[in-house]
């Protein structure tokens, strides 16, 4: 099921020369296990290409900030941006002992709804009034302000408004200059959100390390309840989950993010900045994990357990793994029978396509085309390429935070993990702390990696490779259906979930099996369209 050069050329032949030259750098056919191939990523989208990318604001508010449940997120700009990021990512959240129901703003949308005169005369006053009213009506614990495209252009100083509001109301008001045009995709917005949370929120809390084996899960947004499934497993093993950033998280938890011994990084692209900055500032070690897929979850759990110098924990981990595997295997088998041997495309996000390769392999399926909307080279090729990435003007527009070790709170990694320096050095040889290997290593010869994938390429590749199922977002879903290929959304899970952890694997297996076997796929042609037995032509 590999693609020939001729076929690829045929796909490129639609492109004008300039476009062809550009796109070729973003498409890699893996040559072999030993090959080292470069992919171009995190560069501008070609104007007029039917891209699936979003914008900086989408990454900042839509992905990272939106799920923080007890902050009022005010979107400063015309109405649309706020409206589209309202409830559409399915970040589940619930009230708990920290967050009473009247402090939950997850189902609300706040926007300054800028009008023409505001654009002409500036919107700072309006924003200030809106903050005053939101504070008066809702009493949120803290507020975020996100700027959308026109705000940067008209020069509203949202930082100054935030500062004034903070002084006036005595709560934190954070401003994010995440105007849509910044950077080349939603990735810039993740970075801006990460920086700001790091600089202004994380570390403000006074919580002590609560419980034994305290971890954070970073880059987990609790879509379809993924984060809850992970918390269930980790708690059962004996961990204390300090904070899930940002799925179902509260402002309070984020302030106390530093009160953990280890950071587990689920979505590398959206949150690695915080993991790295926390390592610098607090010395907190981080481990890239993948809880999508049974084997991947097991592997991640084993690695996490090793990070603590505790035999009991290792043992308990094995017990829980055995228990969970025994629980799901019988039901999983029936799905595996149907899925085995099938092929898939996974095209989504900045880590997800990689994560799902494992889950699909658990089901006996193979990913033949994988890609991202807004990844960087290290998400494909692994963090070892970071020193060789040359920043261009677009990347330089996103400010970098340069942090120093915190005078009071910094501790060496081994102290975080309550082990000796020697043990820690040894651990680092066994467990890849501060490392992410990227997607490329997971691909096999002949399989294809696509960066900033677009409609034409998807359409051509589906025609050429005819996958059994297609995983992407809602914008590709219906196109794919019309090509006769079942599609599942990996952003919103088609309103199902969770897909993470052990329970998630089962839900996913069921959903995928249903998508491929739903009886209608066998009835695409009307009976009168089939050539008659007598050899006559079809009716229509």
């Amino acid at each position: 099921m590999t693609i020939s050069d001729i076929e690829l050329e045929q796909m490129y032949s639609r492109y004008p020369d300039k476009v062809k030259k550009n796109r070729k750098k973003h498409i890699v056919v893996k040559e072999g296990p030993e090959a080292v191939q470069k992919i171009e990523a995190n560069t501008r989208t070609i104007p007029g290409i039917l891209t699936q990318r979003g914008c900086c604001y989408a990454g900042c508010k839509g992905v990272v900030l939106g799920p923080i449940k007890d902050m009022a997120h005010i979107v400063h700009g015309p109405v649309g941006c706020s409206y589209y990021a309202w409830g559409t990512r399915r970040n589940k959240a619930k009230a708990d002992e920290n967050t009473p129901p009247e402090k939950m703003f997850s189902t609300m949308a706040f926007t300054t709804d800028m009008q023409e005169s505001d654009i002409v005369f500036g919107g700072e006053k309006k924003l200030m009034t809106m903050i005053d009213e939101v504070v008066k009506i809702f009493h949120p614990r803290a507020i975020t302000i996100c700027a959308t495209c026109p705000i940067g252009l008209i020069g509203d100083d949202i930082g100054a408004v935030a500062k004034a509001a903070e002084a006036k109301h005595g709560i934190q008001v954070l401003s994010f200059n995440c105007e849509g045009y910044k950077g080349v995709s939603q990735s810039g917005g993740h970075h801006i959100a990460n920086n700001n949370l790091m600089e202004h929120v994380i570390g403000r809390g006074t919580r002590d390390k609560v419980g034994k084996h305290v971890v954070n899960i970073l880059g987990e947004y609790n879509i379809g309840g993924d984060g809850w499934e992970l918390e269930r497993i980790l708690k059962d093993i004996g961990y204390t989950v300090n904070c899930v950033l940002t799925g179902d998280s509260s402002y309070l938890d984020i302030q106390n993010l530093h009160a953990a011994q280890l950071n587990l990084v689920q979505c590398h692209r959206s949150i690695n900045y915080i993991a790295e900055m926390m390592e610098t500032k607090y010395g907190t070690p981080w481990l890239k994990v993948n809880f999508i897929g049974i084997e991947a979850t097991i592997e991640s759990l084993r690695q996490v357990a090793q990070c603590f110098d505790d035999e009991e924990l290792v043992q308990r981990t094995e017990e829980i793994i055995a228990r969970e595997v025994a629980r799901i295997t019988p039901s999983l088998e029936q799905y595996r029978k149907i899925c085995t041997g099938k092929t898939a495309f996974t095209l989504v996000g900045g880590s997800r396509s990689h994560h799902y390769q494992y889950l699909l392999r658990d089901l006996g399926m193979e990913v033949v085309v994988a890609g991202y909307e807004f990844a960087h080279r290290d998400d494909y090729e692994g963090r070892e390429v970071i020193p060789t990435i040359v920043a261009d003007a677009d990347q330089k527009n996103i400010p970098e935070l340069h942090l120093e070790p915190d005078k009071e709170l910094f501790e060496e990694g081994h102290i975080h993990l309550s082990m000796s320096q020697e043990k820690f050095e040894e651990l680092k040889k066994r467990v890849p702390l501060s490392y992410y290997g990227g997607m490329y290593k997971c691909m096999k010869e002949g399989q294809i990696m696509l960066d900033d994938f677009n409609h034409h390429e998807i359409e051509s590749l589906i025609e050429m490779l005819k996958p059994d199922i297609f995983f992407s977002g809602v914008r590709d879903k219906y196109v794919t259906h019309k090509m006769g290929v079942p599609a599942k959304q990996l952003h919103s899970y088609d309103y199902s979930g969770p897909y993470a952890g052990f329970s998630g694997a089962l839900v996913f297996a069921r959903d995928v099996t249903n998508a491929m076997t739903t009886p209608a796929w066998k009835m695409l042609d009307a009976p009168w369209d089939a050539p008659a037995a007598s050899g006559g032509a079809p009716d229509a």
């Binding site: 104007p47 015309p78 649309g80 939101v134 409609h455 019309k482 006769g484």
Partner: protein, 455 residues
């Protein structure tokens, strides 16, 4: 759910809390899809385009393709001319549409990009078209964007050849689902009227799944039809907010008489639509439609006790809400809260007049409102039923009121884009949904001893 809402009446004076409208470009994108072989193009940063496609895809559960000028910071400073020119070249080479319909976003509007000049300076392949509409998000709403793109179809394409006017009617259907457009066309066909409808998203956003993918499905009004609409006798412009601008432009440009009407939602508005077709096209109304109308009357009489006298809150786009309110009154219901997110004083005037005539004096009406307002009203005095878009579901749960989903967008229910709410069939569907919602509710709330088989 929504326990954070204040318990007492509070007013908020700026911005929107839980908005009941969205921005112009999404409406323009939808309208563009009603031209055959058209690829909508969003001139701004790609995030808007991604959001608009996402939302339309979710509502229609169908493919929505559109390109973007993909602005980065540079374009935002120096203007988007280079991006648009590159886009035009790439779009025609790669995707080969008949028409490229460009709309602006708040970004390109704020920097003041002169789109028509940019288009004129671009190389557009022979026989292909690039049209454009300005759709600044900080004015109006998604309905305004729809209207602006409809108007652009007229200004760019429609022509009057100067000869005899054709015995033909133009129908501008307004911001409605393909299922509604199909129903409006069916009625006109049933009457034997020769017509042109645009935009027309039937067979585009409700296209069949046949295992043969077409980037440009067979539906949509062709450029030839839109051009020729300048030679028609009259235009029925349905929905003041979504269609009047195009209707008036066609009258001014080509002298085609514009007849403004409501979108034919409900009995009266459908009657008026049929009468307008009958009178302008000089045809007779066939008995099939008389039968359909009679069925609606029959159903209204048969079912009135399910809903008559119930208080209802309605919200959504003005062109939907105005005739919907009229129909709710026809049903004997009491629309006590009527709200739209889109601005326009006419909304308040028109609904106010209808409610006055129906003697519903205790009511609240608001244009340019938001769902915070609506929920605060409901907290003050409860209603029996909520009619509006999916966004009403939070209020429905918090205040424990049944919700009938009507309008745009509906993100959490199936089949709605194919099922008309216009025409007499649409009346039946609305009665069915409203009755059943209230009956389900009665079943749910009844005591064991009151739980009955027959209702």
């Amino acid at each position: 759910m929504l326990e954070c809402m204040p318990k007492q009446q509070v007013e908020h004076t700026v911005g929107k809390i839980n908005p009941a409208k969205t921005c112009q470009p999404i409406g323009a994108m939808y309208a563009s899809l009603g031209i055959h072989g058209c690829l909508p193009h969003s001139h701004g940063s790609q995030g808007c385009c991604a959001y608009h496609r996402m939302h339309l895809s979710r509502h229609f559960r169908d493919a929505v393709l559109a390109t973007s000028s993909s602005f980065t910071e540079g374009a935002s400073v120096f203007g988007g001319a280079a991006n648009l020119k590159t886009s035009i070249k790439n779009v025609f080479e790669i995707y080969q549409p008949e028409v490229m319909a460009v709309h602006t976003t708040c970004l390109s509007e704020t920097i003041g990009d002169d789109v028509p000049t940019m288009i004129r300076q671009s190389e557009v392949p022979e026989g292909k078209y690039v049209i454009h509409a300005n759709t600044p998000s900080y004015k109006g709403s998604h309905v305004t964007g729809f209207s602006n793109m409809c108007k652009a179809m007229v200004t760019y394409l429609a022509q009057y050849d100067g000869g005899m006017r054709k015995e033909r009617v133009n129908i501008l259907p307004g911001f409605v689902n393909p299922g509604d457009m199909r129903e409006m066309k069916r009625i006109a066909q049933e009457m034997g009227v020769d017509f042109i409808m645009y935009p027309d998203t039937t067979d585009v956003l409700d296209s069949p799944l046949t295992s043969k993918y077409e980037m440009y499905p067979k539906g949509g009004a062709t450029v030839a039809q839109i051009k020729d609409s300048g030679n028609s006798k009259a235009t029925l412009s349905l929905g003041a907010w979504s269609s009047d601008a195009a209707g008036v432009a066609l009258q001014e440009k080509c002298g085609v008489a514009c007849i403004p009407l409501h979108i034919p939602i409900g009995l009266k508005a459908t009657d008026e639509y049929i009468m307008a077709l009958r009178n302008t096209a000089g045809v007779k109304v066939p008995s099939t439609l008389t039968v359909e109308r009679g069925q609606v009357i029959d159903t209204l009489i048969d079912t009135h006790f399910h809903y008559q006298g119930k208080k209802v809150a309605v919200f959504g786009d003005p062109d939907t809400v105005v005739p919907l309110t009229e129909f709710l009154i026809t049903m004997g219901m009491k629309p006590v809260y009527v709200m739209t997110g889109t601005p326009g004083a006419a909304f308040e005037d028109q609904t106010c007049k209808m409610l006055d005539e129906a003697n519903i004096t205790e009511r609240k009406i608001k244009a340019e409102g938001d769902l915070f307002d609506l929920q605060m009203w409901i907290k003050e005095a409860k209603v029996d039923l909520l009619v509006g878009t999916s966004y009403g579901k939070y209020i429905a749960r918090a205040e424990d009121i049944p919700l009938v989903r009507v309008g745009f967008p509906i993100l959490d229910r199936a089949v709605h884009p194919l099922m008309p709410i216009v025409g007499y069939r649409g009346c039946l569907r609305l009665i069915e949904q409203i009755s059943n919602a209230l009956l389900d509710r009665r079943d749910r709330d009844s005591l064991d001893e009151d739980y009955e088989l027959v209702m």
